[in-house]
Amino acid sequence: MFTRRQFVAGSLATVMTPLLKGCSQPQSEPPRWEQGAYRKSEQSKVAILKATSYDNSLKDIILRAINLFPLDIKGKTIILKPNLVEYDPAGVINTHPAVIAATIDALRSLDAREVIVAEGPGHRRDNEYLLTASGLHAVLQEYRAQYVDLDNDDAQAIPVNSYFTGFPRFYFPETVLKADLLVSLPKLKTHHWAGVTLSMKNLFGLIPSAIYGWPKNILHWAGIPNSIVDINSALSIPRFAIIDGIVGMEGNGPIQGQAKHCGVLIFGDDFAAVDATATRIMTLDPRKVDYLVFADRFFGNILEENVLQLGERIETVRQDFTVIPSFRHLKSIVS
């Protein structure tokens, strides 16, 4: 899976922690993805809906949003992948349980066959603690929903169809591979290694830590943007994103940042487009986020002219998210 040579190359090219690798490549270089990996459409749709608090209105908001997209829910097995990387009683690290509850409720009302909540926490191995402390366990009990620990699920190796990390394949949990639809449910957050962490970065949680380690450091060594792109590209199941931007995190995210009220949920089936819109809402420039730039080349749209914005306009919901100094360059525009 990971050779000594790859590791040594990584160690010489990076410091002890992940650094962003350059996103541009000379035109003379061979393409970094297979032809079949190209799934970029001419235009993508993203919906921004106001949601001022974690109250009972969330289900209706989610249903309104789903109706804006050609999503086939009836009879489907659906995986909800929240962000549950860590727990801090004073922090806003994770997708709020109310958003997860409302999504379960909404999908069931559309006759989903099964809704499974699944996560592979990147730091903690104590799932019982994470679930009970975060409030997710209570939601699972109330809705009698199944939870799958993706870090330890049965897994299958899937060949990559892009070559940013140099990994020939990724192991994915069977629960995810067998599903009909994957719903990425991240929190709207800044990230101290990647700039922002949204629906694409959230898929790190699909990668089993039992194989890749806690934290999933192998992915960091291969370059976080590279790993995000290869993981998102390799996975072929239909997907949808719902970003919990009601209260996001600014500053030193994804763990130690500060809460930032933003009052929105952001929806879409092109993760790159959803994440680009979310980044703009944070008053950051998606064209300077490496993995979004990579994604824009072959499987998503990040340019405003290629994204049909539904619901609220970005300008009406935008909030000024602070970033750590190494990501100040993300703040320098916003078109």
């Binding site: 899976m1 990971f2 050779t3 000594r4 590791f7 040594v8 160690s11 010489l12 990076t14 410091v15 002890m16 922690t17 801090d88 009683p89 730091h123 903690r124 191995r125 104590d126 799932n127 019982e128 603690y129 679930l131 009970t132 402390a133 366990h137 939870y147 620990d149 330890n152 699920d153 049965d154 897994a155 192991y171 101290h192 830590s209 039992a210 194989i211 890749y212 380690g213 806690w214 934290p215 450091n217 192998i218 060594w221 030193n252 763990i255 130690q256 750590i324």
Partner: protein, 300 residues
């Protein structure tokens, strides 16, 4: 309650003899190692058949090089080798398997990040986002990658249990390096998380389960200030955390450190009533070990 947990382990044993992480999953080296230790701690002839079946599965899984794969499905060599070794040291007929696994562990070294980082650590550590001593070699989750606290702790316990059957100078040096690495990764107020006490200048908090595991790995140094500080940190953390996994590890740790753990045993029962430990084999097994004083399996 212990009988109920043992029944669960018996019910959840796969046809092939191993245990999945939760019922219905492929047999998994880590889950099987803990289940075997738990059943063995009952010292009951009634359980002999299940234990033998489990041992056969674990023995058969061992690769020719001495390592174990993660599971019957994911065959790549794995960090869980240390747990298989640790478990099999409790079963004399499988001693040679354990020894072969320990020899494989001795060949494994977490990689260091390279000369540039070494120089920066030596001359300008404040410029590093994570200030870990890059010269120390422990054990990694994935072969040929960076060392972390939990796999290093498992390897330390396994090697310490077998140290007198292994090449003396090599095992002594690896244990010394591994211990230094664990101490290097300790959080400033005591305790451990996965292995980063600080990132970008910000302190990161310890986790109770990893703290207990690391303390078990460092049990011969229980009088050392760092151990005592971490023991206090563990008690502090346990005021907030009431999961079977964490409490199980903690009771084993307290037992090895000669401390009374009665109040935590009661909390394990409460936790089971609340969550059924999410049906996780390892948590069920740790609960059995906690109640049966199975700490002997981890004593070095």
């Amino acid at each position: 309650m212990v009988e109920q947990w043992v029944d669960l382990l018996l019910q959840n044993q796969n046809q092939d003899g191993g245990w999945g992480i939760v019922p219905g999953k492929h047999s998994h080296t880590e889950a099987s190692a803990f289940a075997l230790l738990a059943l063995n701690s009952m010292k009951s002839p009634v359980l002999e058949q299940a234990v033998n079946k489990g041992l056969q599965w674990l023995g058969q899984q061992q690769n020719a090089d001495g390592s174990w794969p993660l599971s019957s499905q994911v065959r790549e060599t794995s960090w869980s080798t240390a747990l298989a070794v640790l478990a099999l040291t409790s079963f004399p007929p499988f001693y040679q398997h354990a020894l072969q696994g320990a020899q494989w562990l001795l060949q494994q070294k977490g990689q260091t990040p390279g000369w540039r980082e070494s120089l920066r650590y030596r001359w300008a550590p404040q410029t590093l986002p994570i200030q870990l001593n890059p010269h120390l070699e422990g054990w990694s989750w994935v072969p040929n990658s960076f060392s972390w606290v939990e796999p290093t702790s498992y390897a330390l316990i396994a090697l310490k249990k077998l140290r007198f059957s292994l090449p003396g100078s090599i095992v002594t040096e690896r244990i010394r390096q591994g211990e230094l690495l664990v101490y290097d990764r300790m959080c400033e107020e005591g305790g451990w998380n996965y292995g980063n006490p600080r990132v970008l200048g910000e302190k990161l908090p310890p986790y109770p389960d990893i703290t207990a595991i690391a303390l078990i790995a460092l049990q011969e140094h229980m009088a050392v200030d760092a151990n005592q500080l971490s023991l206090q940190a563990l008690c502090q953390m346990l005021r907030q955390v009431r999961s079977g996994l964490t409490l199980g590890w903690s009771v084993l740790c307290f037992s090895l450190y000669g401390q009374n753990a009665a109040e935590y045993k009661a909390k394990i029962t409460d936790s089971y009533v609340r969550t059924h430990f999410l049906n996780e084999t390892k948590s069920i097994a740790l609960a059995v070990l906690a109640f049966q004083d199975g700490s002997g399996a981890f004593r070095v």
